[in-house]
Amino acid sequence: MNSGAGSNESLLSKVHRLWRCGPFSGGEPALRAALGILLALAVFAAFLAATGIDPAAAFSKGWEGVLGSPLGLSEVGVTMIPLLLTALATAVPTRVGLVNVGGEGQLFVGALTATGVALFFPVSQIWLMLPAMALAGCAGGGAWAAIAALLRWWRGVNEVISTLLANYLAILLIDVFVFGPWKNPEGLGYPYTTPFGLAAVFPSIAGSRFHWGFLAPVIALVVTYVILNRTSWGFKMRAVGGNPEAARRRGIAVDRYAIAAMVAGGALAGLAGMVEVSGIHHDLRPGISNNLGYLGLLASWLAGHNPVPIVAACFLIAVFLVAGDVLQLTAGLPSAAGLVLIGLALFFVLGMRRVERRAL
């Protein structure tokens, strides 16, 4: 198995590897991804025209508002922070052959546990408070993913189904707390918790909404990349994902690696939840994630589950999400337009691949 790009790898095999990795992995796949995005934009323009909106004006407003202004760019950065983490939450379990569709729920539970620490164990030192919250977020998300991992190992429940159902449970679990015992008594009836203390908040950078929480995905990306591609753990994980039976016979503790990868994925998504409440909302409330878990999963899929191209895929999705918000403000479109555009882009980019054989 090829762990990382070997120096003596032939050009042919390199091209082959890029080809197989996914549309965002560089080289020709990137070209196909670009073509897919252009097609998606064309269909989206037709969709806008059909609903009575001038697509040219909407596109120019979107471009100005997202990539042409410091505010838009900082929003893209803010959106990328949790997306990168939920994308990694899918990428890591994929290495052992597990599909984690539960990023959304793990994010919510991570936000819940991080909030618990911020509310009930407040300290005034930021260097103590934030890491404690991050650990709590990881623990919460990891524990939530562990439910699916254990259900699979004890009862043979497929993790796709269990993580999907667990997402709905997690969203309701947040509601139980913010409408119930954790509701701010001075919150005028809104289902928000008491705002966090200053030490529990990621400081913003240059007065924008972009905050120091960006360090979380950066560290996570580096650590994940190194573990997956440069350590024997990563190699063994790939062995487990590739052929569990062969890995077992080779003496690898297959179950342990698989459960650990699932829990690690959950922890990454839980960290995303912590970063969202600490960096953006500064309290816990319903609806802190607008499909961020699902979008991260799809970003990881577009990127062939590789940490480096994941950044490109997350950037693309973040741009479209922010474009939806910008168009809501400037062109009177519903913000759901962003989701429509993302859906189209996913269809075209997923479809823009070499088909190995006719459907048979």
């Binding site: 609903t51 599909v99 569709v101 259900l151 699979r152 004890w154 009862r155 043979g156 429940v157 497929n158 796709v160 189904i161 269990s162 999907l164 159902l165 667990a166 997402n167 709905y168 449970l169 309701l172 679990l173 509601d175 139980v176 409408f179 119930g180 499909n291 699902y294 979008l295 999963l297 799809l298 899929w301 479109l333 519903p334 759901a336 337009a337 962003g338 989701l339 429509v340 555009l341 993302i342 859906g343 189209l344 996913l346 269809f347 997923l350 479809g351 691949r353 088909v355 190995e356 054989r357 006719r358 459907a359 048979l360």
Partner: protein, 305 residues
């Protein structure tokens, strides 16, 4: 004691109504999976059916047109999934989830002007005689027309899959596309038909929710029912009749939750809202022993346990 009886009878009478929309999606996913494909976009198909069914009913004033529109919307949504997974060989899980997100966006976009509307949708029809049976009659025979159709589809689907040529071809493709190709069938066409039919049924299920049950539309109103249907197909071991039992179980959980809420149970209503999801997950955990053997072989690469 009488409270307990109230809860039980209330749960039973309330179990069928909320289960019907899921039942349609169960049928749809079941046909899809028997052909060896999985469609996680069922949630999106239901949402499309709920939204376009509602809009068409609101605009035309006719619930029948609304249901047909919902059916068409579900099939159209499914056609995206079918085209990509069959003819472009994309990953089925990723494509289905992308479809669900896409449908969420489109329906929020299209339905935004209809959020506060209440329509004249389908109304319950009491079957004379049968509706008078205590509890059971109330539960089964005081439903809208789509419920009665759904009662019929289950046995019909079982018969078609088990005893017709087309059903056999479909099952054969689900077991091994290569073998059925060698036997002169066209796997791509059969799977296309299965996915489109599945989407149409899920669309009807969605329309039943908005046009039949609530008479309102709200963003994301299917709330995971499409995913629950996927779980219930596994619970039902890919059999339409057991699938009916699964949908009844889901409906029962919703009914019980509503009963407990109405009685003012001293727990958070959100905790009670968890009941249908937790129950579905729970029955899967208890029940999956047989699933491995019953699963169509074509699904095993994607849904391995």
């Amino acid at each position: 004691m009488s409270t307990l009886w109230l809860v039980i009878s209330g749960t039973l009478t309330g179990a069928v109504g909320p289960g019907i929309s899921v039942l349609y999606a169960v049928y749809g996913e079941l046909i899809t999976e028997r052909a060896g494909r999985i469609n996680l976009g069922m949630e999106g198909c239901m949402l499309a059916g709920a939204c376009f069914g509602f809009v068409a009913t609101a605009e035309s004033g006719s619930a029948a047109i609304g249901i047909l529109a919902g059916m068409a919307a579900g099939a159209m949504a499914a056609s995206i999934h079918a085209g990509l997974v069959i003819y472009r060989d994309t990953n089925q899980l990723a494509t289905g989830l992308a479809l669900t997100l896409f449908a969420g966006g489109v329906t929020a976009y299209v339905g935004r002007g209809y959020v506060d509307d209440i329509i004249q949708g389908l109304n319950p029809i009491a079957i004379p005689g049968l509706a008078g049976i205590p509890v059971l009659g109330e539960a089964l025979f005081r439903q809208d027309i789509l419920a009665y159709v759904a009662y019929g589809i289950g046995p019909l689907l079982w018969f078609v899959l088990q005893y017709t040529r087309w059903g056999l071809s479909l099952r054969a493709v689900g077991e091994s596309a290569a073998v059925s190709f060698a036997a002169g069938r066209n796997p791509a066409t059969l799977q296309l038909a299965a996915i489109l039919l599945g989407g149409a049924l899920a669309g009807v299920g969605g329309a039943q929710l908005s046009v039949g049950l609530t008479h309102t539309w709200s963003e994301g109103m299917t709330a995971g029912r499409g995913f629950i249907a996927v779980a219930l197909v596994i619970f039902g071991l890919w059999s339409p009749l057991r699938g009916m039992a699964g949908a009844l179980l889901f409906g029962g959980a919703v009914g019980l939750q509503l009963q407990l809420q109405a009685l003012g149970a001293p727990v958070s209503p959100f905790l009670l809202d968890m009941l249908p999801y937790a129950l579905t997950l729970g029955v899967l955990a208890v029940w999956t022993g047989a699933a491995d053997r019953a699963m169509p072989a074509g699904l095993k690469t994607i849904l391995r346990t």
